[in-house]
């Protein structure tokens, strides 16, 4: 398989999605995720950390059928039909287990055996992960206990930020480009964007994009220290993007994988094409280490750049999957950014934040929501904002449906924003 198979020199390739895989709080396969999104079914469960009822985090988006809360991989459990060899497990973080299950599912969805991406120089791997704070904590504690005399040899590769790309590159025998993205909550979208560029530039024929996040005290509670998490214990009240009473995000976890291919390469192998990634854009806030620009400056620019890259007018967008984490500052900034991009006198896109159902899985969110958009375009509906009761007045003029709409979106925009004011948007087109 050669990269750029159907492109003449200088022409930009088209990028299509041919497979997705879901390990998420709202389902571990396409059908389950589709049902949850359509029915407005959240994926929240009660959590307790340190056995301490005083910890101010009561619920989170939890993943079913996995047990990965130990720092020792020998304790982990995952669905038996996913084969993960010991030589892979020994270097993984918990979210690496999710990631392998998501990739295997995405490859199968794309009609590709594992062998099709192994030792194939035109296949790349693009990963989004913040590493594993839990594994890092465990390994460093062990090192502290021996006063630096010894530590687990797999401590580095199972915990630092590149853990997904290190492990998955070896596991899947990836010989094209391999890279990782660490722009916090925009990481997953960055991974997709740069994978698209490498395909469009003819450097690759195919990319496996995967993003993962885990849920444990070490990952989540530092956000409580920032006062960024909802303190609600009622799942219907905790994550309510764009509601006037929103009080923070709900942490969550999982992994999502997407198989991106050059359109010509996908056509040549007779692949089922799920959607086209028509363009993407990014722009920064230049404002704060953790807070969104109050007017949504960077996010608005990122949306405009994505639209321009895709050659799509704002009034052609049918649906926006908002970043909408349910934080007071972030949602306000996004609402203002949306209003600066979409002329309220013209056709408005439907807007919803699926984080109302999933919570916010940080590095995973951009890839997860892009995959949700792919699903929605194929299933023919737009998810609502089921936890939205009293719309924040700042959202006036935006179309925020409460319930699912049986409308098939043809052109979709997905927003993501990360710490440091890193904003990334994608435009997807139905095929």
């Amino acid at each position: 398989m050669g990269a750029n198979a159907n492109n003449t020199k200088g022409a930009r390739g088209r990028v299509v999605v041919t497979g997705v895989g879901f390990i998420t709080p709202i389902g571990n396969d396409w059908a389950d995720v589709a049902a949850s999104l359509r029915e407005g079914r959240h994926g929240f469960g009660r959590v307790e950390f340190f056995g301490n009822p005083n910890v101010p985090v009561k619920i989170a988006g939890t993943v079913r059928d996995f047990t990965v809360d130990s720092t020792n991989w020998r304790d982990w459990k995952w669905p038996a039909h996913h084969e993960i060899a010991r030589e892979t497990l020994r270097g993984l973080a918990p979210h690496g287990v999710y990631a392998i299950c998501a990739i295997d599912q995405a490859l199968a969805h794309a009609g590709l055996p594992r062998e099709a991406v192994a030792n194939e120089d035109a296949t790349g791997l693009y990963c989004a992960s913040a590493g594993s704070a839990m594994m890092l904590h465990g390994h460093l504690k062990q090192m502290d206990q021996t006063r630096g005399e010894r530590g687990n040899p797999m401590g580095v590769v199972s915990s630092i930020c590149g853990t997904l790309n290190f492990n998955l590159a070896a596991h899947y025998r990836i010989t094209g480009s391999v890279c990782g993205f660490v722009s916090a909550c925009a990481s997953g979208s960055h991974a997709i964007g740069y994978a698209c560029d490498d395909i469009r530039l003819g450097r690759l024929a195919r990319a496996v994009v995967v993003a993962g996040e885990e849920l444990n005290a070490e990952t989540l509670l530092p956000f409580a220290a920032m006062r960024a998490l909802s303190s609600q214990s009622d799942p219907a009240l905790a994550s309510r993007p764009f509601d006037v009473a929103r009080d923070g995000f709900v942490g969550s976890c999982g992994a999502v994988a997407l198989i991106l291919e050059d359109a010509g390469v996908a056509a040549a192998r007779g692949a089922r094409v799920l959607a086209e990634i028509a363009g993407w854009g990014q722009a920064a806030d230049g404002h704060s280490v953790a807070m969104s620009h109050p007017g949504g400056r960077g996010l608005a620019n990122a949306m405009k750049r994505a639209l321009a890259d895709a050659g799509v007018r704002a009034d052609e967008i049918d649906y926006v999957n908002a970043h909408g984490t349910s934080t007071p500052v972030g949602d306000r900034a996004e609402a203002l950014a949306l209003k600066s991009v979409f002329d309220t006198n013209k056709k408005q896109p439907r807007i919803s934040s699926t984080k109302g159902l999933t919570g916010h899985p940080l590095s995973l969110s951009g890839a997860m929501e892009t995959a949700f958009c792919v699903l929605l375009m194929n299933e023919g509906f737009i998810p609502g904002n089921p936890h939205l009761v009293n719309v924040d007045p700042v959202c006036e003029g935006l179309d925020l449906p409460r319930t699912t709409l049986n409308e098939r979106p043809g052109v979709v925009l997905n927003n993501s924003s990360g710490f440091g004011g890193s904003n990334v948007c994608h435009v997807l087109r139905a095929v």
């Binding site: 010991r86 030589e87 010894r150 687990n152 040899p153 797999m154």
Partner: protein, 116 residues
């Protein structure tokens, strides 16, 4: 009695191992029985095989060439041995170990004179 400070409760460090391995560890801790150490080392070698196998492991087998160990797996099993027996094994010493037998002999030497 061994002079080092061992964890004599085998249900802790060797919780994932078979009862006979935990019993061997407890026996070594109680009596300094070097033969018991061999049982534990062999079980650890098996536990850290990159590709799990129930095939017999013999002293003459080389960790890398015959048992499929890579350098990370060697580091892992050495770490497990260090942690279990409270030893410190230098990288230069690891480089001298090639077979299962040489590993067992090396650990016995490390533990032997000081440990009994």
């Amino acid at each position: 009695m061994p002079s080092q400070s061992f964890d004599t409760n085998p249900s802790e460090k060797l919780a994932r191992y078979k009862p006979e391995v935990r019993e061997a560890y407890a026996r070594f801790c109680a009596t300094g029985d070097v033969e018991a150490v061999q049982i534990v080392i062999l079980a650890m070698v098996r536990e850290h095989l990159p590709k799990p196998s129930d095939a017999p492991i013999t002293d003459g087998q080389r960790l890398i060439e015959d048992l499929g160990y890579d350098s990370l797996a060697v580091a892992e099993v050495v770490f497990a041995i260090e942690d279990t027996f409270g030893l410190r094994i230098e990288t230069s010493e690891i480089m001298q170990i090639s077979t299962v037998g040489s590993l067992k002999a090396f650990i016995a030497r490390k533990l032997g004179p000081q440990g009994v």
